[in-house]
Symmetry: C2
Subunit: 642 residues, 2 copies
Amino acid sequence: MENKNLTSNLNVDALFLGPKSENRVFFQEMMDYALREHMHWRADFHPEDAPLVTPVDQHMPDFRNTLYRTEGILRQLSSKLKTTSVPWFSPRYLGHMNADTLMVSNIAYVMTMLYNPNNCAHEASPTTTELEVEVGRDLCTMFGYHPNKSWGHITSGGTVANYEGVWVARNLKTVPLAMAQHPKARDLVAGFSERELLNMSPAAILDLTDELKKRGIFEEVRSLTARGVGVKKGQLGKFLVPMSKHYSWMKAMDVLGIGQENIVPLPVDEHYRTDVAKMREITFRLIEEGTPILGMVSVVGSTEEGSIDHVDEVIRLREECEERYGASFYIHVDAAYGGYVRAMFLDEENRFMEYDELVKRYRAEDIIPAGVAWPKREVYEGFKAMAEVDSITVDPHKVGYVQYAAGAVCMKDKRIVDLISYHAAYVFEECGDDAAEDKKVVLGASIMEGSKAGATAAAVWAAHRLVPLNIAGYGMVIARGIVTADWFHAKLASAEPFVVGHRKFDVRPVMHPDFHMVDFTFKEIGNDCLEDHNRLNKRMYEICSYASGRTYTNDFLTSSTSLASHEYGDTPAIFVRERGFAASEWERVQSVYILRSAVMTHFLRDAQRFEEYWSELRDIFTAKLAQIVEMEEKENEQLAAA
Amino acid sequence: MENKNLTSNLNVDALFLGPKSENRVFFQEMMDYALREHMHWRADFHPEDAPLVTPVDQHMPDFRNTLYRTEGILRQLSSKLKTTSVPWFSPRYLGHMNADTLMVSNIAYVMTMLYNPNNCAHEASPTTTELEVEVGRDLCTMFGYHPNKSWGHITSGGTVANYEGVWVARNLKTVPLAMAQHPKARDLVAGFSERELLNMSPAAILDLTDELKKRGIFEEVRSLTARGVGVKKGQLGKFLVPMSKHYSWMKAMDVLGIGQENIVPLPVDEHYRTDVAKMREITFRLIEEGTPILGMVSVVGSTEEGSIDHVDEVIRLREECEERYGASFYIHVDAAYGGYVRAMFLDEENRFMEYDELVKRYRAEDIIPAGVAWPKREVYEGFKAMAEVDSITVDPHKVGYVQYAAGAVCMKDKRIVDLISYHAAYVFEECGDDAAEDKKVVLGASIMEGSKAGATAAAVWAAHRLVPLNIAGYGMVIARGIVTADWFHAKLASAEPFVVGHRKFDVRPVMHPDFHMVDFTFKEIGNDCLEDHNRLNKRMYEICSYASGRTYTNDFLTSSTSLASHEYGDTPAIFVRERGFAASEWERVQSVYILRSAVMTHFLRDAQRFEEYWSELRDIFTAKLAQIVEMEEKENEQLAAA
């Protein structure tokens, strides 16, 4: 497919190996290059050193035998992988946020892995530590943070990034309390009540830490924060997280010693975004009753729906709380899934474009074609406001199209790192040069994790160099999935029934997506039992996933989830009603089983190709429904016989 | 070098690419195999699907241009890597616990990465989740745990593994308190004081959880533990960690909300092992004064010295505390570095061999030659007792010879996982088959991290299949470094002075190693100033490390550390005295700078080759000392001129 973007020479099809390994010649050539460069590097290290393994050694029976065993194990592994792996690379896979990954990242990983750097310490990774700093800066810039004042780094994934957000929020929150206990810091918070100390804004606290550093008592005060003395049960108040949250937030409350009971779930609206009115109500109520708010989480790309929270409303709410009550709180955005989408709003100078300018450009360059209304205004505002939050989780291994495992966390104000950083004898280094600060800050002493593969940093770095984090790079790649998701939604919304014998089934989307995830369900026409509906969709999932055995021979693969009242309140009742069930069905069952497709493939962006795809998919769906009907009939026969 | 082991056909030289890429033909062939297998797999997926990228597309200017840009970025990366990477693979590198990594692990990683499985959920990694379960079982078996009753999994590294140890210990500790608060559980702990509840043994608490499960109130009680309600400042008591600890333990106390002030550092003895007498004294004192002990850490392979703690004495101490005071505590072993050494004690049936039998076999098979006294009896007992501790951290990316990042944690009793596990709608799966339990337990819901590369699991799995975790596998590989370290120590202990002009320097080891790490220092003969000694060794490190610029042209590379009183008390004073300094020097300086060599290379195990190596190394040391002398003289001239 020819690239229609006038301002960029990036061809999206040339970024990936392709569903038929179409770019195999290039891929193999570059892998070979990576390998050979490293092998020569080894051989050229001290040419005067004799080889330590000779051809005579290499032809000894036990030597050959060891190589044969190695080969045998690798063949066994290959066979295992081929049998059960999931073909993410194919447009036939529309499930989790998985797709083909960037060739450049795969090759960069392999190239770097051979040198085996460890980004825990600069000493063990002189190259890749610096690449990680660069990656952090790329991401901070994408989010609108000031590149010199902010700080970002790679984590093993969004879960650890979320932990790190809670970690800094928690330690920061206890700084004013610690100051009140230190004789040389007390004057800075004189006259404040405990409640006022617990309600200070993150920015104000960070400014106070500057003063502590000037007075030479920063470390002493720091040792009086939660870091030093532990968490005081209940003191830190509540942590507000949307119901659409990833379960890692529950783990975070446990791990960080805060306790899960201190999460206050925020209800979601009909778009599965945090309900702004209810969020405001809950926040005001907590403040009025004297409960501190440790932090608030906004989700940019909910795991199950891809919904984009109103981040701008959260920022506005905090300002309002500061003005009305003098009460502030920490704000973290969980954009593990949706973070890279912010590239779609940035021009080549990384400037966040005005809405009208953006839409005009989308149309002019056919990034978003006519008929596809993206972005919704509120989604646009949500992304724009990310620049103002305290920290952000983002996963390069999701919409960054990098292979696992590569998460990241970005902090708006890098001074916050001092509240969690550590130093150890063998990791600490003194640096005299200009890059000293960068080198120090990346050490395992400044982040939650310790050892980590420098190869991951290289993989993300290479991706960012090839695919800029703006409209001319990731914007173009991600737009393809967004457009396809919109088309997919439209087809599902208007699809004619599927006929299997005398039975008819229809398919409908749960809602119009904010992004590229389409949730949908099948329903037998005439069925008024929600449990039957759920069973049908669960069966559909089972025969369209790894659960049915080999995924390799499957025609279509997807994922699924349950939208249940204990996580979503009564929001799913809206869809259940639209789907034609009586209100009493939702009351009774309290859960709706849905199919879930993240449309990350860039291959269906061509209108004609998509039509063909949909037509095939209709046939596949019909065949799958027929398979389910047959299964049911068999089961009924067996039941009757028994 | 021919393999002299009579019972195994493993050739150690055939496991690695080699310092001159001696095994390049095989390595390249297998990498090529990995790549081609995957590319064919893609192409063969639904042969009826047409390729989505055609040769015409591929010859478009923007397509070619994108490939050229990709190549340019990869060349740039290669150049960066070659300029500053550290040649771990060479015997010229004796520093951190780094060496060449197993070919089979590197190739397995690449092979698997192309399929991009995510071990967070079985659904996203049907193959590699099972490989991770197998790896966990391998490690548990190596540690002497019951393979069906224990549980192990991969982490990003030792830091996260240590966190997980504290996490389970913390939540477990609060179970009895939670039971006392639950109306339907209260009877099980009737009559216990808070102090008694906080002193229950891990095994007794886990047995109680069985009863809670039977009563159907396990989840309710669990929500009353620290997991649900948070940490209550100070309540959990003290966490005892040797002074030789890795700094991740300080991070752990912070992250888990317990507070760093609740670490009680245990002094080390002259071998840099936890001082048993002082450990006992501190423990008894705490119990007698009514302070609960949350847990105790033993270090198997200290980061700076490779010392092996008396784990057996810790087990004995716990038994004694239970008998004398009815007070118990959790025991975690941090064997991030030394864990794999336990393979040296296991026969081919994974039986921990008797001491005499072991030594006999070492001699008979020339695993440990005459003249090398390994293992010391106390080291042997330390390893043996690991089977009795509650959990263990071990890093495949250290002495498992696997590339970064691969850590692991093992739990003796898998019931403990229920105290930290979670489930989320889109990750939870129902399994009906026999392997159901394994499948469920591996999900991101049962561990601290979330997403993680299935490729890591494959890399460790492949290593374990090729190199068994016993005397015939890892034992053989690791023994080579241990023997070489012993020889290296002997050379350092008896080395004649190095002469540079009219100045003379000697070199001496800090102590005889428990394992394969040799610490040593240079000293100018006649110098009686400890600061000068430290400056000399710091300079030596600087010109023998990445700090001097390109490591590639360096003749010898090592690492370094400071043994300072704030971390080690007065233990380093022993060496300082032996080194000929007055006691007042240690009093004044409080720190000794040392060079630090983990001898992981297997290439110097041949006595003749080692003699040649040492002779070259003497010349290198002399030249390095001359370089330092010259630097000093220049500095003195400049000072005089100024």
